[in-house]
């Protein structure tokens, strides 16, 4: 893995609002483990965006990206 220190394209998997941990997803989705699993290949790296309440791919992004490594981004309103 290489570290990149630059203006980089935001990514859901690095966002504060992304929940992609398999264990956490199984808690967030009741009944999932009855006939499936968050550890399955079919899920790929998808997770839940708790800000927009949607399923998103780990590589997706949006204008509301808030890096998980920074706790106090300062969004500017439109």
């Amino acid at each position: 893995m290489e570290s990149v220190n630059a203006q980089v394209r935001p990514q859901c998997s690095r966002c504060n609002s992304f929940r992609g941990d398999a264990k956490e997803l199984e808690l967030l989705l009741p009944g999932l483990t009855s006939l499936s699993s968050a550890y399955a290949s079919v899920r790929s790296d998808d997770g839940i965006c708790v800000r927009h309440d949607r399923f998103v791919g780990a590589g997706s992004y949006c204008a509301d990206f808030s890096p998980a490594s920074m706790r106090s981004p300062q969004p500017s309103s439109k």
């Binding site: 570290s3 935001p10 999932l32 006939l35 899920r43 998808d46 399923f55 204008a63 509301d64």
Partner: protein, 464 residues
């Protein structure tokens, strides 16, 4: 919508190592390691004149309790050794996946003890008379314990439905000739594709006519047409579905899948369907691999398929339709629907175009293990005549692998019940349930026509 102020961030890029990490972070890959590892170990023992049969102990047929007791008294060391090997292998794998060993170990102890009891019950010579088929008993016992006994949630660590069924499917591959997969595969793909496309179309059309969101319609459609809850999750991610859509689809699939476990085998038996035909019908009618295997195994026993020499045709037909005919295509479904969602439906700002590589990322990798196991066993046993194969290979190589597969399946069936807590399930909602049901009914009808009429001769002669 607010805009994020641009910041310089130190980030790590996801390189090739992210992809490689999957081989110990996904259940599919662990099913491959354990399944293929078991096959290789079994083969090593076999070529050295020995067998893993001692470890692959199963309860013997019995007619009175004293006989059963004598069996356990004579073989208790084998059961202890088997339990230790299962525990060690599964604990290692599930710890690598992120589960806590201190949660998994007591949970698996419970699972194993219950499985021994259910397996033994299934070997009673009156079990079929009283409809005590092990998959059904396992499911009912699990449901009762999960919904009335107040099992603590941390025990779920050991009740890993998908982990066990995928491992079992890889082992199942070792017991199927690869030539059979090649011969029967195209028909399975054709039949399953017809049913899947029609089922998806019906669910999607009814759902959107009822005013449901397209993304919910697609999530439900995939759940009914491809591979149940797993497909629903995959499509939910692919199309950017709202978070609440997945639980709706999960609940709907579970209700139908559990009901079908009980209904389909009885219906197939009542209609006097040949084993292969019934198995194929279950393959197109059931929604989840685990539930479908429970139904197929039950029907297999009802139709006398578990007797020696019968060939297990119901399970084989089911596997070909469900695993080869439906499961393998989930990546393509996800890719296509992602394109449709991003280009045709209401735009959700995701900043990412669908990539064809998603077809591989979402591919159910355990199927690779299934195919490799089949290819390997077929290759190494090709020099045996049929008579020698039945006399030598089956009792010492294929037979023990099949027995271990049966254990994996029983672990899975019990786990389905033990993890299905009805009061935790989200409300399915009347409209989603109606849309899904419309597709399920069409699915069953078309599946029956294709299995029992159009391709009946093919499925009846499976393996002959």
């Amino acid at each position: 919508m607010s805009s994020v102020s641009e910041t310089t961030t130190t980030l790590e890029t996801k390189g090739a190592s992210g992809t490689w990490r999957e081989i110990w972070l996904k259940e599919d890959w662990w099913a491959i390691w354990i399944g293929l590892g078991t096959v290789i170990v079994a083969y090593i023992f076999f070529v050295n004149g020995s067998s893993i049969k001692w470890l692959a102990v199963t309860p013997a047929k019995w007619s009175d309790l004293s006989a059963l007791g004598a069996h356990f008294a004579a073989n208790y060391l084998r059961y202890i050794a088997q339990f230790i090997v299962f525990l060690a292998v599964f604990t290692f794998a599930l710890s690598a996946l992120g589960h806590r060993a201190r949660d998994f170990i007591p949970s698996f102890i419970i699972l194993y003890v219950l499985s021994v009891a259910i397996f033994a019950l299934g070997q009673w010579d009156k079990a079929s008379t009283y409809n005590l088929e092990p998959p059904l008993v396992a499911l009912v016992v699990g449901l009762i314990l999960a919904n009335f006994a107040g099992l603590p949630r941390w025990l779920d660590s050991g009740f890993r439905v998908e982990f066990y069924i995928k491992t079992g499917i890889v082992l199942l591959g070792a017991t199927l000739p690869f030539t059979l997969i090649i011969w029967a595969g195209p028909v399975a793909i054709l039949q399953a594709s017809i049913v899947s496309l029609v089922t998806f179309a019906v669910i999607y059309w009814v759902a959107t006519r009822l005013g449901l969101d397209k993304r919910l319609a697609a999530t439900l459609g995939a759940g009914g047409a491809v591979c149940g809850v797993s497909a629903a999750i995959a499509i939910a991610g692919a199309v950017g579905a709202k978070k609440e859509y997945a639980p709706i689809a999960i609940t709907t699939v579970i209700i139908w899948a559990v009901a079908m476990i009980f209904v389909l085998p009885q219906l197939a038996y009542y209609l006097h369907l040949p084993a292969g035909v019934g198995g194929a019908w279950i393959g197109t009618s059931e929604f989840a691999d685990a539930a479908g295997f429970a139904a197929a195994e039950t029907f297999n026993r009802l139709s006398g398929g578990d007797t020696a020499g019968s060939g297990n045709q119901a399970v084989i037909a089911y596997t070909l339709i469900k695993v080869i005919g439906r499961d393998v295509w989930i990546g393509i479904w996800a890719f296509v629907l992602a394109i449709v969602a991003t280009t045709q439906w209401e735009r959700v700002e995701s900043g990412r175009k669908p990539e064809a590589v998603e077809i591989w990322r979402r591919f159910p990798k355990f199927i690779i293990g299934f195919l490799v196991a089949s290819l390997f066993l077929t290759f190494v046993t090709t020099r045996y005549s049929l008579a020698d194969y039945n006399k030598t290979v089956v009792p010492t190589l294929v037979g023990p692998i099949k027995d271990l597969r049966t254990w994996a399946f029983i672990f899975c069936f019990l786990s389905i019940g033990l993890t299905t807590r009805f009061r935790d399930l989200a409300s399915a909602g009347r409209k989603p349930f109606l849309a899904f049901s419309a597709g399920a009914i069409v699915n069953v009808i078309i599946g029956f026509i294709l299995s029992a009429v159009v391709f009946a001769a093919h499925w009846e002669n499976l393996g002959h």
